[in-house]
Every structure is written in C-alpha cells, then in structure tokens.
C-alpha cells in the first residue's frame, strides 16, 4: 500500500507554484517583455501539447486526508494553488471540447482535483478548529442554529457577522419579519405531516410487496440477507399474505 501513494500533479511543480509565479510577476514589471512570455503564461490554461486531441489521459489518485495531514501549512498552501491551476486547466479544456463538439478525454480528472481540494480544505479546518478550541473554547466556524422557520418547519439558520449588536439593529429585525398567518401555518403543517405519513406508508407497502416478490422468485434465498436489506418488513407476515405463492422446491 505504501508504494502506491501517487497523487495528481505535484511532482516537479511542488517547489515552485505560488511563489515562483509571484516572482514571475515581478519580472513582468519591466518593459522588456516579449510576446512569447505571455503566450507561455496563457499556456498554463491548456493541457500539455501531447494530450491535445488525445482520447485518454491517465492520472493517479486524488490526495486523501491522511496524505494531507502529514504536510505542513506552507506545503498545503502551495498544493492548493497547484490544484487550483490544474482545475482551471481542466475546465478550460472541457469547455473547448464542448464548443468543438468533441469528447473531453478522462473527465474523472476534474473530480480527482476537486476531491483533493475538498480534502485539503477539510484538513485546514481541522487544524484551525483545534487551535480555536484550545485557545478560545469555540470551534471558530460560522455558528449555526436550528430554528422554526416561517413555514413552521425546523430549518438551519446560519448566523452572520455584524458590527452592531442585535438589539439596536433595526434593519436586521425588519429582514427577519416574514409574516405568515399562524392558522395558515398550522393548516400547512397538518397537511405536510399527512403527506409525509402517506409517503412513508406507501414506501413500507412497496417494500413489503417487494419482499413477497423476492420470496416467490427465490425460495432458497438467504433470509438473514433479506432481513438486513429490509429491516422494517415483517417476513412472517409477508409469508402469511395471500400473495405469497412460492414455487415447489425439489430437493436432490
């Protein structure tokens, strides 16, 4: 397993990435730039010339959280920009393929890069959460709360940052005033719950009939596996149903 720890796009560009490009930016300040330099920079938006018109481009796996947890913060920061540029490149190529009515080779590369970016962000969050919990006793994220919304249903409310306290913020209060007639809300709630209940009952009935269908088709079925897949269905009750007509079993 240890031998197979390949990941996307970090080999030669691991050392350069953001910092080297920043330095490039300083060089660009001088007046003596040639067009080729610009062309080269824009070429970062395109894949290698070898892969132009290719039907398949092979790639390794995405960066997993465990790979990222052992990397220092500056390394993660560099890796983020490498991934960001790779994603822009892939999006550009995908868009051009779409415009030219061609197949985009190996579209899973995009998912690999995005998965890596998600994992990286999650690792950074983990580290920051540890710091905030240790130093301030809070998780240091956007606070969330479950409230009863205007439709009388529980919903998640994400708090936002303000410069003045709640008590003197008239504008915010105004925004929160979404008025619904309480009688309408009660009526809506009743119908909503009824709909939910009916859907649940239908699903149960569907499962029950499906289990009978399975019993009729496969008389030698593994009952434990059936119970595992349909925990809510009473199999004894299904066997007592008039729809249960198993075929005769001839033992050798």
């Amino acid at each position: 397993m240890a031998n197979f720890t390949k990941a996307l796009h970090l080999s030669k560009s691991y050392g350069k990435s953001l910092f080297s490009t920043l330095r490039n930016g300083h060089i660009c300040n001088s007046r003596m730039i040639s067009t080729t330099l610009y062309l080269r920079d824009f070429m970062a938006f395109f894949d290698d010339k070898k892969n132009w018109g290719a039907t398949e481009v092979k790639s390794g796996r995405s960066w997993q959280k465990d790979d990222l947890r052992i990397k220092s913060n500056p390394d993660l920061h560099k890796l983020w920009y490498v991934l960001l540029k790779e994603r822009n490149m892939l999006l550009t190529m995908e868009q051009e393929c779409k415009e030219q009515m061609k197949l985009f080779p190996s579209p899973e590369r995009l998912d690999k890069v995005e998965e890596s970016m998600e994992n990286l962000e999650e690792v950074v969050r983990e580290r920051n959460r540890a710091y905030h919990e240790l130093e301030r006793g809070e998780i240091g994220e956007q606070p969330k709360e479950t409230i009863i919304g205007p439709f009388g249903l529980p919903e998640e409310y994400k708090m936002t940052e303000h410069s003045i306290p709640k008590e003197i913020n008239a504008e915010w209060y105004k925004q929160q005033q979404i008025k619904c007639d309480p009688r309408d809300v009660a009526e809506f709630g009743r119908k909503y719950r009824e709909k939910e209940f009916i859907e649940k009952r239908r699903q149960h009935k569907r499962d029950f009939n499906h289990v009978i269908g399975l019993l009729n088709r496969f008389p030698k079925m593994d009952m434990e596996a059936l119970k595992e897949q349909y925990p809510d269905v009473d199999i004894e009750k299904a066997k007592a149903s008039r729809k249960y007509k198993p075929p005769p079993v001839f033992d050798d």
């Binding site: 930016g25 018109g53 051009e96 030219q100 061609k102 940052e161």
Partner: protein, 151 residues
C-alpha cells in the same frame, strides 16, 4: 475563522486576506471577432474585476491593463410534457485587455494529425466491411450453400 463566509471589514481593522481562494477561471474562445489583445474568460460569479486582475497577476503572472465583466443571463425554457420552467445558470464573462504590444490567439486544441489517425481507423473498418460483403455475395446465386463452399 475557517469558513467560506467573507469576513466583515471594519475601519481600522486588519487587512482582509484570502489564503485559499476557490475561484475558477476558464479561458474560452472569443464569441466573435475582437482585437487580438483581448482575452475572454468565464469566471465564478463571485469574482469582481479587481479579483480577476489580482488572480491573473499573482497566480499566473499575467499582467493586464483593464478588465471588463458582464453577466450573461441563462436561457429559460418550458420543459415539454412537464409542468415546470427550467432556467440555465447565468455565466459571468470577463474580457481582459493585455498591455500594448501583447497578443493572444486561442490555439487549435485538436491537431489534424490525430484526427487523420482516427479517420484512417474508420477507413480500415470500411474495408473490412466491404470484404465481408464480398464474401457474403459469393454464394448469392446458389442459395442454401454455406459461406465456405466455393473456392
């Protein structure tokens, strides 16, 4: 605070910095004839003109004189046979103007050589098809005999 929410800036407070930007930028073929120093991009909806300028300068080392943006409205259509209207996503376009003397031309990403190869593959398939037809037509005047019968 590790969150994607943009922090609140108050006068005299520390400068706001984004360390892990998640903006995307697509370089696209210009939709109509325009001067060769204008490059067209598609970008994430949250990006401002300053964001695009900084993004290109700091991450790609591309200097630009001016950036213009516009939002193209997504098309709305009625789904036939279904009772709802569908709207495509809006797209934000950015037009980046390069400094004097710099030009960019969108390259041809589908070289002719490779396409020729593909066409050759198709040709060989056609040949196989023709030879098979010939093989089948050998016995067409003697119905009932198997394909290997005649020499």
């Amino acid at each position: 605070m590790s969150t994607r929410l943009y922090p609140l800036y108050q006068k005299g407070g520390p400068q706001l910095r984004v360390f892990l930007p998640n903006f995307w930028l697509k370089l696209v073929r210009p939709d109509n004839d325009r001067p060769s120093n204008i490059v067209q991009f598609m970008c994430s909806m949250e990006m401002t003109r300053y964001d695009i300028k900084n993004y290109l300068e700091k991450i790609y080392g591309i200097k630009c004189v001016h950036v213009r943006t516009r939002i193209a409205l997504g098309k709305t259509r009625l789904e036939p046979g279904r009772g709802y209207v569908i709207k495509d996503d809006d797209i934000k376009y950015a037009y980046v103007i390069l400094p004097k003397g710099e030009t960019f031309e969108f390259p041809n990403l589908f070289p002719e050589e490779k396409e020729k190869e593909l066409k050759e593959q198709e040709k060989t398939f056609e040949e196989i098809k023709k030879s098979h037809e010939k093989f089948l037509s050998k016995n067409s005047n003697r119905p009932g005999t198997p394909g290997w019968f005649s020499f």
